[in-house]
Symmetry: D3
Subunit: 122 residues, 6 copies
Amino acid sequence: MSEKPIKETSYPNMVHKFETYAGKLSASQPALMETFWKLHKNVVGDGALDTKMKELMALAISVAARCDGCIAHHVRDALKAGATEEEITDTLGVAVLMGGGTSVVYATHAMEALEQFIDKIN
Amino acid sequence: MSEKPIKETSYPNMVHKFETYAGKLSASQPALMETFWKLHKNVVGDGALDTKMKELMALAISVAARCDGCIAHHVRDALKAGATEEEITDTLGVAVLMGGGTSVVYATHAMEALEQFIDKIN
Amino acid sequence: MSEKPIKETSYPNMVHKFETYAGKLSASQPALMETFWKLHKNVVGDGALDTKMKELMALAISVAARCDGCIAHHVRDALKAGATEEEITDTLGVAVLMGGGTSVVYATHAMEALEQFIDKIN
Amino acid sequence: MSEKPIKETSYPNMVHKFETYAGKLSASQPALMETFWKLHKNVVGDGALDTKMKELMALAISVAARCDGCIAHHVRDALKAGATEEEITDTLGVAVLMGGGTSVVYATHAMEALEQFIDKIN
Amino acid sequence: MSEKPIKETSYPNMVHKFETYAGKLSASQPALMETFWKLHKNVVGDGALDTKMKELMALAISVAARCDGCIAHHVRDALKAGATEEEITDTLGVAVLMGGGTSVVYATHAMEALEQFIDKIN
Amino acid sequence: MSEKPIKETSYPNMVHKFETYAGKLSASQPALMETFWKLHKNVVGDGALDTKMKELMALAISVAARCDGCIAHHVRDALKAGATEEEITDTLGVAVLMGGGTSVVYATHAMEALEQFIDKIN
């Protein structure tokens, strides 16, 4: 099987689509989305833990929750917050410990997302 | 990133594939699928709550459960049962309250599905 | 086995504990919890759907998500919003359709919670 | 910490409570529960796989789904269908492989349930 | 809707991508992945239950967990271990019993994967 | 309702029971559990991220996964690794952002566990 070229999943496209349809949801339910984004801002800002660490945690949860759109977002945002490739793969290890084989599958999605985002951001 | 055109997911195709392979599963396990469809019919019919409300509930669960194929089905069936766009986005709010950021991601999938089904049904 | 008396789970105690420790979390992370409660208020208020219907949806998600503390809350709040016993059990049917046997187990938890809250509220 | 006596969870009580409240749900929603039990009967009966193997699979799913009430049921029913202790713990291994640390936690719940049911059934 | 040709999902491509990115994760976190693969080998080998039965259990969990990449893997590996089509669809029945409608959706994914792998392996 | 004294859940008892039954699972499946504990050791040791940060991540996943036994473990182990109360509640914020209302419920469980473990460890 492994001779065939890989059909790539575009994680940047996932983020782009998310933003488009989140905008449409905001247009229909403005109070909902304004409050959600305020919650987001309150949580990921520096506190006892810094933004980078919280983005890595959000990535760990994304893998454990088997949520590709979440993985796309938090790989990108962890890189933006200054996370290194090694910190990201170490994070994937925690997800695998907690979530076993199903998390290994989604950890590989995070690896593909990492490959796609790393040059655009660093 | 947002200059690139969005690569669309086809929710009608998801429903179409579901029906095709559900048929093949029925052919192999007829008693299983007959009983499942009977359960479906018993549940979604009008009772203390009407079909429309139960389809919206099924959609809320689909988003919380991060199940795209379920979202495709229940956006379509909620529209068929007479749900309005506003009732659907209000439903997505409940899913976001219960499920946070991971549900926001799948709520955007429901928005894309809504856009694809709304003209075909209304 | 069925001759032994049932050891009851107290769903009102669950709500009471939730409120106590949610208060302690608020004391430590006030911005987090203020925004979460604002999100809660924005979502469950009357909109295209009324509060009662949204509480029933939240209950459906609670059962599907296998979350006893959530079941306690939303059985109580659905009753407070005027839901009848029949509307609640009809809601449990949607959860069972979407979630199968694991949801049947948590639907029985909702039945126990219903029995404990119904006289206090109606 | 380990000097304190363990506060035991009663898995037979869980099954007993389940049966009581499933009966109350049936009284309120008879068509729902009749169809669910028919689905149950159709699935767990001997087919390409025998009942014992299907009960073990249901146990594996119960552990992966972190559902104590499901674990209680399917440990009991796997034993009733003739499963040995070794077959049950081998099943728990599959759940751990697929579900990692969270499944290890629920695998220990299955071990406690096994201890409580094994003498009553064999 | 059903006149349009189905846009196929390639389950062999999923396995191929998994292997590629699992290799990259191994390169970055060798101790993690070596231990995970050792766990995999210890679990799926013949024990009280044979490899075929454990692969079918892993498939049941994959469907219940709504994990397409896992479904791809375990349909392939169940076939490799000698499982018949009937044993696989009987396994899907257990997943549907435990997981309801959301598992029916992923059971149809397993049917599509089965169709794609069966000729390559048998 | 809030006049009644709270019926406490003992998180130290949960850890104690886990250790007891994990020992029994090891006795029956030694290769399984030895490899799991090796995976645990490989993952939580200092790497690109330190043990404290990885225990906090494991706690974030535990809350998002609605796993009380996991919460018990990782609150205790985060404290042992030197995490402060503020770092723990900041971690709970990430879980709430990702998991919404269902994660608020389990965040309150983490608060109760924190109260029970903090004096024994610090």
